[in-house]
C-alpha cells in the first residue's frame, strides 16, 4: 500500500502572545485577533533547522528505515541557490545516492512536495520519500498578519509499506490569484484586497478543490470524517467552513491560537495533529491553498494505533512565553539586539567546512579500533593508545549529559548571553558547544540534554549550521 508511513512535527519553543504584540504597539488587538499566541523560531532557527528537527524526529521513530528521497517545502528557504533538502539530508545522515528537491513559491509547496513524493513512489524510482515542510514567514511589523503567522515544521515519510493512512485520491488546481505574495528581494509578505482574497480566493478555490476531489473519489461530504485545512485567520476559516455546507467537518483545530498559521508547513502540521486522534477507517480530506489548491483524500488504516504507541513525543508541546515583542524583533534580526555591542564575522574556510561535512553535519566522531576510545573532533593519532590511524567513523549520539556549563555575557553573539556547555554523549564522545532555547537557571551538572541543529553564523555569506545542546523535554 502506498501512503503515509510516519510523521512528526516541530514547533519552536517560544510563544508570543497577541496581547503582548498589542501592548508593544500601544493599540490592543481587536477580537478575534486579540487572543492566543504564535510560535516564534529562535534567533538561531530557520526553515532548514526546523525541518531538520521534524525529519530527525520522524526518522527516530521509523527505527532505522532510511528513505531514498528527501523533499523540502518552504516559502522561506534561507538560500535561493543552495538546496535546503541537501543540507537536511546531510544532517540526517542520509546516503548521498538519494533524490532531493526543494519546493517553493507557494503556500501549497508542502502538499506539492507530498504529491511529487507519491508520484515518485508510484513511478518507481523511490521506495520511500521523506517530505519536510517548514516556514518562518515575516509580515511587516505592526500588521495584523504578523500576529497570525506562526513558525513550525512537519515531516512525513511516504512510501510503499504498512501505511497508517493510504492516499485514495488527489486533486489539484493551478490558478494565478493575488492572495499573498512576496517578491524575492523583500522580507515581508504582501497582500491587497483582503476581503476579495478571503472570499474569492481562499474560499472559492478551496471549495472547488474539495468538490473536485470528492467527485473524483465518487464520495459525498458526509462520508468524510475530517477536513484538514490551513487557516490564515479565524474569520476566513469560519466563513469557509460555513460555505462548505458541512461545517462540522472543519472542527479540526487549525492551531491559530497556539501556534499560528505556519505557511507551507501548515497543511502537513495540521494533518499530523489530525492523525494523532484519527481512527482506523476514517476518511480525511487535506486541503492546501496557494496559487490554486491541492486536495488529498486519505484513508486511515489499522496501523494508526501501532504508530501512536511507538511515538512518545507531544507533537506540538506547550511552549514558553517569549519575554517581549522586542525579543521577537531581535530574533528576526529586524532590530539589533540590545546586547550586541558590535558585529563580528567569525573566521571560516568553506573548503574546511566541506572537508568536515560528515563530522559537522552528520555528526560523526572517530572510534579507536585498538582501544575503543571515542573522540570528537576527528584526529589521526589516538591520544589514549598512541596508535597512528586506528580510527573508524563513529556516529555520535544526539543525547548526553551536561559535564559543565557557563552563561557568558561577553561573547558578541547575535543574542546575549551565550550559554556554553560541555556534553558527554551517550556511547562516547564529548562536545563543547552552545546551548539552544536555554533557561540558564534550570541548568545542573549531570542533567540530560540532546543536540539540535542550529544556525551559528553567516561567515562569507554562507550559513554555518552546527549542533547545539538543549535540555530534554523542554517542549512537552
Amino acid at each position: 500500500m502506498i501512503g503515509i508511513l510516519d510523521y512528526a512535527a516541530y514547533v519552536p519553543i517560544h510563544r508570543l502572545s497577541r496581547a503582548e504584540i498589542g501592548r508593544a504597539w500601544g493599540r490592543p488587538m481587536v477580537p478575534p485577533y486579540a487572543v492566543g499566541e504564535r510560535a516564534v523560531a529562535n534567533f538561531d532557527e530557520d526553515s532548514v533547522t526546523m525541518a531538520t528537527e521534524a525529519c530527525l524526529r520522524c526518522l527516530a521513530q521509523s527505527e532505522g528505515q532510511r528513505p531514498d528521497g528527501l523533499y523540502f517545502a518552504s516559502t522561506t528557504a534561507p538560500d535561493h541557490e543552495r538546496q535546503a533538502a541537501t543540507v537536511i539530508a546531510a544532517a540526517a545522515d542520509l546516503p548521498r545516492e538519494i533524490r532531493t528537491a526543494d519546493f517553493a513559491g507557494s503556500l501549497r509547496a508542502g502538499t506539492s512536495a507530498l504529491l511529487a513524493a507519491l508520484d515518485a513512489i508510484k513511478g518507481g524510482p523511490a521506495w520511500s520519500v521523506l517530505v519536510a515542510a517548514a516556514d518562518r514567514r515575516l509580515a511587516e511589523p505592526g500588521q495584523t498578519a504578523e500576529a497570525l503567522i506562526g513558525d513550525g515544521a512537519a515531516a512525513f515519510v511516504v512510501g510503499e509499506g504498512e501505511a497508517l493512512a493510504t492516499v485514495e485520491a488527489t486533486y489539484s488546481i493551478a490558478e494565478e490569484f493575488p492572495g499573498t505574495w512576496r517578491q524575492s528581494q523583500n522580507l515581508y509578505i504582501q497582500s491587497d484586497d483582503e476581503k476579495f482574497a478571503a472570499t474569492y480566493g481562499y474560499q472559492r478555490i478551496l471549495l472547488e478543490a474539495m468538490r473536485g476531489l470528492l467527485d473524483k473519489a465518487k464520495l459525498n461530504p458526509n462520508q468524510v470524517s475530517r477536513v484538514v485545512c490551513p487557516a490564515p485567520d479565524l474569520p476566513s476559516y469560519t466563513a469557509l467552513a460555513q460555505a462548505s455546507g458541512v461545517p462540522l467537518l472543519f472542527l479540526q483545530d487549525p492551531l491559530l491560537l497556539s501556534v499560528g498559521f505556519t505557511g507551507a508547513a501548515s497543511p502537513l502540521l495540521l494533518l499530523a495533529t489530525c492523525l494523532e486522534k484519527a481512527e482506523s477507517g476514517q476518511l480525511i480530506v487535506v486541503l492546501s491553498y496557494g496559487s490554486g489548491a491541492d486536495a488529498l483524500l486519505l484513508s486511515v488504516t489499522d496501523e494508526i494505533e501501532a504508530h501512536r504507541s511507538r511515538t512518545r513525543r507531544d507533537l506540538i508541546g506547550h511552549g514558553r512565553p517569549l519575554p517581549s515583542y522586542q525579543t521577537y524583533l531581535t530574533h528576526r534580526d529586524l532590530v539589533k539586539s540590545q546586547h550586541g555591542v558590535w558585529e563580528v564575522e567569525p573566521f571560516s574556510s568553506l573548503t574546511m567546512m566541506w572537508r568536515e561535512r560528515k563530522q559537522n553535519l552528520a555528526l560523526y566522531g572517530v572510534r579507536c579500533t585498538k582501544c575503543a576510545a571515542v573522540f570528537f573532533p576527528a584526529r589521526r593519532v589516538c591520544p589514549t593508545c598512541k596508535t597512528k590511524d586506528p580510527f573508524e567513523p563513529h556516529k555520535l549520539s544526539r543525547r548526553g549529559r551536561l559535564v559543565t556549563f557557563t552563561t557568558d555575557r561577553l561573547y558578541p553573539g547575535p543574542e546575549s548571553p551565550t550559554v556554553m556547555a560541555v556534553v558527554d554523549l551517550d556511547g562516547g564522545g564529548r562536545l563543547f558547544t552552545q546551548m539552544a532555547d536555554c533557561d540558564p537557571e534550570t541548568l545542573r551538572v549531570g542533567m540530560e540534554v540532546e543536540l539540535t541543529l542550529r544556525k551559528f553564523h553567516k561567515s562569507k555569506g554562507y550559513t554555518h549550521y552546527f549542533w547545539k545542546a538543549r535540555s530534554i523535554g523542554l517542549d512537552s
Binding site: 567546512m353 557557563t406 561577553l410 558578541p412 556554553m420 563543547f432 558547544t433 551538572v445 561567515s459 552546527f466
Partner: protein, 393 residues
C-alpha cells in the same frame, strides 16, 4: 643533564602596567629592556641573542609577529632573535628557550623580552574579538576567556560545594597585594560588597574574578651561572623549567577532563620540582606568582602545584595561607588580577617579581627571608602550563 644551576638571572625590568594610550608596542619594549640592562649592568651590544614573547600581534598593530619587532624596537640588529608564542605561557616559554640556549653553551649573555599591546583596540575587540573571530568556524564557537575558566568554576563549585564568596577571597587578597605595587594596573583594595555587586561576566565569574586588558612589557637579562658574579652581586639561579601540554587545545572535548584540575600544571610542576629537587612544595617554596587570569584558576592551581590537597583550596585561601603575611605568600605583586595580563609580558613580569623577592627588593610587599620562589603560567584552557623554580643559591 638538568637545567638546575646552569643559568642565572642578573637583571629584570618591567614597564608600568596599565592602559598606555601614549605609548606604542616598541615604547613598552624599550622601557622594559633598558630597565633590565641597567639592573644587570650590561649594555645592549653585549647581548648575544634575544627572545621575544608576544602572543597576539593582531591586537598591537601586527607588531611582534617575528623577532624583527624586537630588533627594530631596540635597534638590536646584531643579535639573532626568535619570537615565541605559547598562549598565556608565552613570556615564560620565551624565558625557557633562552635558558636552554645559554645552558647549551651557544650564548653567554642573552635578553628575553615579553610584550603585548592590548589597548590599541577596544577591550572587547582584543582577546574577546579574536576568540569570536578566529578558531574553528563552529567547534567551541561562543567561547571567551572567562567563559573557558567559568566551565571549571561551575564544575569545581558543584564538586566541592563552594560558592562565589570563596573566589571573592582570592580577588580581595590580590587587590590588597596590588595596592602595594606601584607598577600594578590597579593599585587599590576592593571590598566584598563591591565584588558581589559587580556585573557577572561568565557565570559564576563576575567582573572582579577576571584580570583586565592591559598594556605592558617585561624583560630579563640572563647569563651562564658561572659568569653571573662578574655582572651581579645577587644573581638568581634557575632551578627548574617545566612546560607541559598534555591535552593540547581540545581540553573541553577531551572525555578525560574533570574540570577541577589542570593536568598541564601538574605535569609542568612535576618536571620543575624534579629538576629543582623540590619534594614538599608547600614547605620548600617561600613565595610564588601564580597565573590568576581568573580567581578560580588561582584556587585550582594551589592544588595542582601541590601546595595543598585537591579540594583544600578553599581552606588555603580562607585561612590566609596565601596572603602576604601567610605561610606561602602568593601573588605578592597583586597577580594578573591587579597588574593586568599583557599576555607575552606576564610570565617575565612574574619572573621579575620573584627575582626581586629573592633579592630582598620587593619593598612594602617583601616576603621575609624568601630564598626559593616559583612562577606559574597557564595558557589556553589548560592547553599549556609553565612552572619555573628560582632560588638565591
Amino acid at each position: 643533564m638538568s637545567i638546575r644551576d646552569r643559568v642565572a638571572i642578573i637583571g629584570v625590568g618591567a614597564t608600568q602596567f596599565g592602559e598606555h594610550f601614549e605609548h606604542g608596542y616598541s615604547d613598552l619594549i624599550v622601557e622594559a629592556a633598558y630597565e633590565a640592562f641597567r639592573d644587570a649592568n650590561v649594555s645592549p651590544p653585549q647581548i648575544q641573542a634575544a627572545w621575544l614573547g608576544t602572543c597576539f600581534p593582531d591586537s598591537g598593530g601586527y607588531q611582534g609577529n617575528a623577532g624583527a619587532s624586537l630588533a627594530d624596537a631596540l635597534s638590536l640588529y646584531h643579535a639573532p632573535i626568535s619570537r615565541v608564542a605559547n598562549y598565556c605561557a608565552t613570556g615564560a616559554d620565551a624565558f625557557r628557550n633562552a635558558c636552554f640556549a645559554v645552558a647549551a653553551g651557544a650564548y653567554d649573555l642573552v635578553l628575553v623580552v615579553g610584550a603585548e599591546k592590548m589597548r590599541d583596540v577596544t577591550a572587547r575587540e582584543s582577546l574577546v574579538g579574536q576568540l569570536a573571530e578566529t578558531g574553528h568556524p563552529v567547534h567551541g564557537k561562543g567561547v571567551t576567556a572567562p567563559g573557558m575558566f567559568a566551565l571549571f568554576a561551575t564544575r569545581y563549585f558543584d564538586r566541592f560545594g563552594i560558592g562565589r564568596e570563596t573566589l571573592a577571597k582570592v580577588a580581595l587578597k590580590n587587590h590588597r597585594h596590588g595596592s602595594l605595587n606601584p607598577k600594578a594596573h590597579f593599585q587599590k583594595e576592593i571590598t566584598l560588597e563591591r565584588y558581589l555587586k559587580a556585573p557577572m561576566v561568565a557565570d559564576p565569574l563576575g567582573l572582579y574574578d577576571c584580570c583586565p586588558q592591559t598594556d605592558g612589557a617585561a624583560a630579563a637579562v640572563i647569563c651562564r651561572a658561572d659568569l653571573a658574579p662578574t655582572f651581579s652581586k645577587e644573581p638568581i639561579l634557575v632551578k627548574g623549567l617545566g612546560l607541559a601540554n598534555p591535552v593540547g587545545d581540545e581540553l573541553a572535548f577531551d572525555p578525560d577532563s574533570d574540570f577541577i584540575s589542570f593536568r598541564a600544571t601538574k605535569e609542568a610542576a612535576a618536571q620543575a620540582y624534579e629538576q629543582a629537587g623540590v619534594n614538599d612544595p608547600f614547605k620548600e617554596i617561600d613565595v610564588a606568582e601564580l597565573h590568576d587570569c581568573f580567581t578560580i584558576t588561582e584556587l585550582v592551581t594551589y592544588e595542582d602545584l601541590g601546595f595543598c590537597q585537591q579540594g583544600e583550596g578553599r581552606t588555603f585561601i580562607e585561612e590566609g595561607v596565601s596572603s602576604l603575611e601567610g605561610a606561602l605568600p602568593i601573588n605578592t605583586s597583586g597577580g594578573l588580577k591587579s597588574c593586568g595580563h599583557p599576555i607575552g609580558a606576564s610570565g617575565l613580569r612574574m619572573i621579575g617579581e620573584i627575582t626581586n623577592q629573592l633579592r630582598g627588593r620587593a619593598g612594602k610587599r617583601q616576603v621575609k627571608d624568601a630564598k626559593r620562589g616559583l612562577v606559574h603560567n597557564l595558557g589556553g584552557l589548560g592547553a599549556v602550563a609553565s612552572v619555573i623554580v628560582l632560588a638565591t643559591s
